[in-house]
Amino acid sequence: MTTGFQRCGEFALALLLLLLCAAFRRTLEADPVTHMLVQLPALAWAGWLFAGVASVRRPRLEAAPTNAGGGAGLLIVFFGIVFWMLPRSIDGALTSPEIEAAKFLTVPFLVGAPLRLSWYRAHPILRGFLLSNALSMLGVLAWLYMAAPIRVCNSYLVEDQQRLGLAFLLVALSLAAIWGGRLFFKPDGGSAGDLLPDLKANGSTSYDT
């Protein structure tokens, strides 16, 4: 059970993340590696935390029948991620204040928040599939960025893009180690990002049935 104190902490952390992302906008966005792999995930994390706090206050949010099995929410997340994966969108965020503002709104609230509201409702096999798929597709992205014969962003150099590719690979390897490691040693999972929380031997389930 999250305590009120914890909730305040999470809310504060989410605000802080948003503020930091905005305050260090120029620095973070100067390099595609920090733009894609620090700022965007931090924004999504802020949204995740907001949704967590909100759903404690309004439990109905998390139990919305429209989001049975997490399907609807995960689709929103999917399209949100797809949009922000396009080099064109990233270029836009750098040159147009409107698109930049949209990024600060949509990444927390169309990626992070729906992910938090849907993840635990999704069937464990769907979750496992998405995580495994994320790993192999991060590997593919790494290759795409390193092998691309053209510059994909107007705002970043080819060398930057290749560094980003390498960074994707490192992220894939680290995530594989972290996620895999948890399965070995922490069967009951922590609070955030549990891999397969439905681990009670008596067959009781936390996901939607």
Partner: protein, 482 residues
């Protein structure tokens, strides 16, 4: 659709029988394809080389896939005795598997794809006009579909084992292996299934990545693929996948043999240690497929050789040795199932000898790309994995152990199969030792004798296999394990 898991463990007999029926039929069909290839090499048959390579691709992909399917069905069946599995996952697994088969068959026989099951870059993309990109893409997509099928299979197996044993570490038997704690030690089936689940999931994730990369490269060749990296990824995936099929099938030995000997197969500390070493080594050993790629880092090739000794051997030794101990002094009543399962362990053991020889750099320099290679892997597949699968099939429809009989037809089947498969694989080894290259559609005059003798043996092996499959089909109606 009900999304809940079954409450109490119970094997999913019906679906597993379907999977084994498909496996048995495809095994026999692909063996016939093998006979055609061998006969063509022996100039007994006039086969257009383009068709030979299509058949070789179908045979390779079909056999590896079916070895995986039959191994998976065995693992699913016996895992179901110990943990509660979600049944619909196996149905999705079968459906995706069959979708993959359709795509692959279409790619080969409608599209003319013939680049071999290993789809090594850049052959699928550069066919010299033998097939178009669509065929290559269909083949790769077929493999993706089969990969996803297995991913879902292992995710569910992993979930159920983690749920029942509290973490993969426990299911792998690590407290037993490294701490000697026998408290709550998992049975052999769980240790084996958990090990395969871990390494094959990793293999599939790597395989999916290289498949998608190859697919993109087909249509956008400007996105260059590093050929050496692709080869490493493909062989990591391929090596791990085909090994997994044997490691899954051996579960049938652990579960069924005790019914005959009356002595349960126990998880000893040495057993758990052997599986723990397999987990590590099966993934580290794949560079022994790349010993001729001189641009590989030297340490990887040396690792490939050294680990070839370590990989599989501890497990094989522990399994074969325990089997002998369990069999010795027990007044076992042989029947088809028992005979084939024991044969499987024997074939697996024998096949590993020429395999390890080929894993030595100095030998590999000469033997790589000769028929020595199909020689060794046909031993532990044909006489190992496939024998275990046939043994499991015989057991599935056997009924009560007390009523089970070892009919003359059964005995005939086993001996014909052993003689056929043994002679056939021996001829591969002999040809290899004489430096006959593998994967050649047309053979030189001097090689034809071995090819022809091998074809004769191959026909015998198919006959034996046919007997096993027909016995299974005949037994389906009256089996007690409903």
């Amino acid at each position: 659709m009900s999304m809940t898991s079954t409450a109490a463990p119970s094997p999913q007999t019906g679906a597993v029988k379907v999977a084994m029926l498909i496996s048995g039929a495809v095994f026999v069909l692909m063996m016939l394809v093998g006979v055609l290839m061998r006969a063509a090499q022996g100039d007994l048959l006039d086969l257009d080389p383009a068709l030979f390579y299509q058949l070789m691709t179908a045979h390779g992909a079909g056999m590896v896939g079916t070895a995986g399917l039959s191994g998976a069905a065995i693992m699913w069946y016996f895992l179901g005795r110990h943990v509660a599995l979600t049944r619909w996952v196996f149905h999705i697994f079968l459906a995706l598997f069959l979708l993959g088969v359709v795509l692959i068959l279409g790619a080969i026989f409608l599209g003319g794809f013939g680049a071999g099951w290993t789809f090594l870059f850049p052959l699928p993309a550069i066919s010299g006009g033998a097939w178009d990109l669509g065929a290559a893409a269909a083949f790769l997509l077929g493999l993706v579909s089969i990969g996803v099928a297995f991913l879902l299979f292992y995710l569910e197996a992993g979930r159920a084992m983690i749920s029942a044993y509290g973490g993969l570490g426990n299911a792998l038997g690590w407290p037993l292996a490294f701490g000697g704690s026998t408290e709550n030690a998992p049975p052999p089936t769980i240790i084996a299934a958990a090990t395969v689940t871990v390494f094959n999931t990793l293999g599939i994730v790597v395989g999916a990545a290289v498949l998608v990369v190859s697919l993109i490269n087909l249509y956008l060749p400007e996105f260059a693929v590093d050929a050496l990296l692709a080869k490493n990824m493909i062989f990591f995936f391929g090596h791990v996948f085909i090994n997994a099929s044997i490691y899954m099938a051996v579960i049938a030995v652990y579960e069924v043999v005790p019914e005959y000997t009356g002595r349960p197969w126990k998880s000893s500390r040495i057993f758990a240690l052997a599986w723990a070493s397999t987990l590590l080594f099966v993934m580290a050993v794949y560079p022994h497929h790349l010993l001729q790629d001189l641009v590989m880092p030297g340490w990887m090739l040396i690792m490939g050789q050294v680990i070839s000794y370590l990989s599989g051997i501890p497990l094989l030794a522990v399994t074969a040795f325990s089997l002998i101990v369990y069999l010795k002094g027990s007044d076992i009543r042989w029947d088809l199932a028992a005979g084939l399962l024991v044969l499987g362990v024997a074939g697996w053991s024998v096949g590993s000898v020429p395999a390890i020889m080929d894993g030595m750099i100095s030998v590999n320099k000469v033997m790589h790309n000769t028929q020595w290679v199909p020689g060794h892997f046909h031993i532990y597949l044909l006489l190992g994995e496939v024998a275990m699968a046939f043994g499991f099939m015989a057991w599935l429809v056997r009924g009560d152990v007390a009523q089970s009989r070892f009919t003359t037809l059964d005995r005939l089947g086993i001996w014909v199969y052993i003689a056929g498969a043994g002679g056939f694989t021996l001829m591969f080894l002999i040809s290899g030792a004489l430096s006959v290259p593998r994967r050649w559609a047309v053979h030189m005059e001097d090689w034809l004798t071995q090819d022809r003798i091998a074809t004769g043996f191959a026909v015998l092996a198919v006959l034996g296999a046919l007997i096993f499959v027909l016995r299974f089909v005949g037994g389906l109606g009256r089996s007690s394990k409903a």
